[in-house]
């Protein structure tokens, strides 16, 4: 049993981290170990899992593979020497970073190191990143920082120059399929299909393999896009996709929102159904705003998943149109792909791919998701598709 077991297809990165942990625990921390790390890699490649594995290895006294008790504490995020900043909102605020920096100055209490992890470091704005600079450059002797981000370019140059970067690669479809088949007991063919359709995103592949609704939603997304024949269809399709993403997000957040509100009311001492006294309204308001921010984030994540699926669809169509061969992501809807590739020119498909990238950029810039989706899907109109 080792912390490094369940990480798929990242042998190089694991070797780097394991060597660092081993040497530092042996007392020779001069070559492989450093105090600030940055793990980059595409979504779903296991950035944060690797960060926690490394943390567990560092926090376990004398065992670079991690001991059971520490692994359990790290998994529950309850280890006293582990500081974690992860967000369910769109951005990480400056106050959250300040608190983390303050905590990083305490000496470790149980282990040799204090480990501070920031998941989604790309969600820090410039001001929040600047708070981190001093702490990253000269942390207290036994504090280790681990940041995770999709790519180096997502962080400020001043942060980049203060960390050692470890790059993860996109795991191979076969590796992911193997992991899913082994861990969830799915037969290999279905696991391979899920892994391919998730484009090696491990979490997504797991969901597609085990959740019938997720599969159906993906199928519905692709079919909706393929059936667009006019501007009117495109606008209706945008509404459909938005609804799909909204349902996805709501399934995650609605129940939690109600529960949190109830808990908050109970801890404020308001009887169920009674009116909230004016003095307490601001607290509830803060809670509601928090929930709203979380909803925004999960809606955006849902839309982004849809766009990634559509990217794979039009990539496949382009491959067919150019006749270059290669593995198709959506091989399961081959007849539809052939029909769609005959209905348009490669130029049109490229324009659609560009439009999807543009829409992702626009949504990041906070424009109305409906508008971005509509503008994107209009370029996907294929009038001659019936022939």
């Amino acid at each position: 049993m080792s912390v490094w077991d369940d990480l798929t297809g990242q042998a190089d990165a694991i070797a780097t981290f394991r060597a660092a942990a081993e040497e530092s625990l042996a007392g020779d921390a001069s070559r492989s170990m450093t105090h600030s790390w940055l793990i980059t890699g595409p979504p779903g490649s296991g950035r944060s899992n690797l960060a926690y594995a490394f943390a567990a290895a560092l926090l376990s006294n004398g065992n670079p593979d991690g001991d059971t008790a520490t692994i359990r504490q790290v998994d529950a995020r309850t280890h006293p020497d582990l500081g974690v900043l992860s967000t369910e909102r769109v951005i990480i605020t400056i106050d959250e970073v300040r608190t983390l920096v303050k905590n990083s100055n305490y000496s470790p209490s149980a282990a040799r190191y204090r480990v501070m992890i920031i998941e989604d470091a790309d969600r820090m704005r410039e001001a929040a990143s600047n708070v981190l600079l001093k702490a990253l450059e000269e942390p207290p002797p036994r504090t280790v920082w681990i940041l995770c981000a999709p790519s180096e370019a997502d962080l400020l140059p001043t942060i980049r120059s203060r960390v050692r970067t470890v790059r993860l690669r996109v795991p191979a479809v076969a590796d992911v399929a193997d992991l899913i088949a082994r861990r969830d007991g799915i037969d290999l063919a279905a696991a391979t299909r899920a892994a391919r359709e998730a484009q090696s995103h491990i979490g997504m592949a797991h969901r597609l393999a085990t959740n019938e609704n997720a599969r159906q939603r993906r199928e519905q997304t692709l079919q909706t896009a393929l059936r667009i024949r006019s501007v009117s269809d495109a606008v209706v399709a945008a509404a459909t996709l938005l609804e799909v993403a909204g349902q996805d997000a709501k399934a995650i957040t609605a129940e939690r929102d109600a529960e949190e509100r109830e808990n908050a009311l109970r801890s404020l001492g308001v009887a169920p159904g009674a009116t909230v006294p004016p003095a307490l309204r601001s607290q509830l308001k803060a809670l509601e705003e928090d929930q709203k921010r979380r909803a925004t984030r999960s809606l955006r994540d849902g839309i982004d998943r849809i766009m990634v699926d559509l990217l794979s669809l039009y990539r496949d169509i382009l491959l067919l149109q150019l006749g270059v061969g290669g593995e198709l992501v959506n091989a399961s809807i081959m007849p539809d792909l052939r029909r769609a590739s005959a209905a348009a020119t490669p130029e049109q498909t490229l324009a659609t791919l560009d439009a999807i990238a543009e829409a992702r950029r626009r949504i990041e810039g906070n424009i109305a998701p409906a508008l971005a989706l509509e503008a994107m899907l209009i370029t996907a109109t294929r009038r001659t598709a019936q022939q």
Partner: protein, 352 residues
């Protein structure tokens, strides 16, 4: 003439309410408010209610300058509060008790007030402000049935331009001042948003000028100001009247409209047009297909006359671009809006 119209319209509203609940107490317009043991002020127009309350206080103070005024918030009412304030004091001054937010009152408040209605205090005037809604219905019915010898003051929402015109006219005639109808029209179009703003403008003109108020007077004070909403701008632009739309856009921006909601309104209208474009069938059938209301389908169809699919497609793309630009993606939000108006009023053919 203007005041007469207003009087007629109020009688109509009053008679409509009357046929529903058959109140046994007089229902008055806001400026006819007079002292009574219980004055119930209902209706959604907060500004008129405030004016009625002010008027009542001034009347009472003119009768007896030692008037005691106190305020209660029905939403945070403590038991017995009303009785404490209403009971006679040592020197027997009259008392005006203003109660706000009756539509959000506590249960104890309604109980206390119903008890008070059976035996109102002498020389005490209770003004109840009820903004609408079903809460406190029992109390309203008791007052309307004549308990406590009350009156009701109606403050219906002022929505239409003609109603605003009447309101402004009555503001001037109440001070026995002459005003031309052109001046009134200019005033109403300059302040078509908040009623309080219109009233303030009227008061300003009343206190500053001595002779008859004409269009020139209004022009001198509020020259060129025209309030426009994003909806009006969008309607004109979609109808293809470029110059007029651009002018209205400038008016809208100058009178406080924000670029972001303007884009949202355009997007909503163009989206509706895109949905109905190229679809056949009756409006009821389409409405259920597209989850819109039948009248929305009809409006969108009327708007989409003369447009083609490519034009609508290009407009949606420009709208997305503009939305990004007004949310910080571009340098000049106003330029982005003008460009959008240009593209839309050319039905998507302009290469701006």
């Amino acid at each position: 003439m203007a005041t007469r119209t207003s009087a007629r319209s109020t009688t109509r509203t009053a008679s409509k309410t009357a046929s529903k609940t058959a109140p046994a107490i007089p229902q008055l317009e806001w400026h006819r408010v007079r002292p009574a043991p219980v004055v119930l002020v209902t209706g959604p127009e907060q500004y008129l209610a405030d004016r009625a309350s002010e008027l009542l206080r001034d009347t009472l103070r003119a009768e007896d300058p030692s008037l005691e005024v106190s305020d209660i918030d029905a939403g945070s009412y403590a038991p017995g509060e009303l009785l404490t304030l209403a009971s006679p004091s040592l020197f027997g001054e009259p008392r005006l008790i203003r109660v706000g937010a009756v539509e959000k009152g506590t249960d104890q408040f309604y109980a206390d007030l119903l008890g008070y209605l059976e035996n109102p205090a002498d020389d005490a005037y209770v003004l109840l402000r009820h903004g609408g809604g079903v809460r406190g219905k029992k109390l309203l019915e008791a007052i309307r049935a004549g308990q406590g010898g009350g009156i009701e003051v109606l403050c219906p929402e002022v929505k239409k331009d003609t109603e605003r015109y009447d309101f402004a006219a009555s503001e001037f005639s109440a001070q026995h001042r002459r005003v031309t109808s052109g001046a009134l029209r200019a005033l109403v179009s300059a302040f078509s948003g908040d009623l309080a703003e219109l009233a303030a403008a009227c008061r300003q003109l009343l206190s500053d000028s001595t002779e008859e108020i004409t269009e020139e007077t209004v022009d001198r004070y509020y020259a060129g100001r025209v309030e426009r909403t994003a909806f009006q701008v969008a309607d004109i632009a979609i109808a293809g009247r470029y110059g007029e739309a651009l002018m209205m856009l400038r008016h809208a921006l100058a009178s406080g409209a924000d670029p972001v909601p303007i884009v949202a309104v355009f997007a909503m209208k163009v989206r509706a047009m895109a949905k109905v474009s190229g679809r056949r069938g009756g409006s009821a059938q389409l409405a259920s297909q597209l989850s819109m209301a039948p009248w929305q389908v009809d409006n969108a169809r009327r708007d989409a006359r003369g447009w083609d699919d490519d034009g609508i497609g290009r407009c949606i793309d420009v709208l997305a671009e503009t939305d990004a630009a007004v949310k910080g993606g571009g340098r000049d939000p106003v330029y982005a809006l003008e460009r959008m108006v240009s593209v839309i009023s050319s039905r998507g053919t302009s290469q701006y």
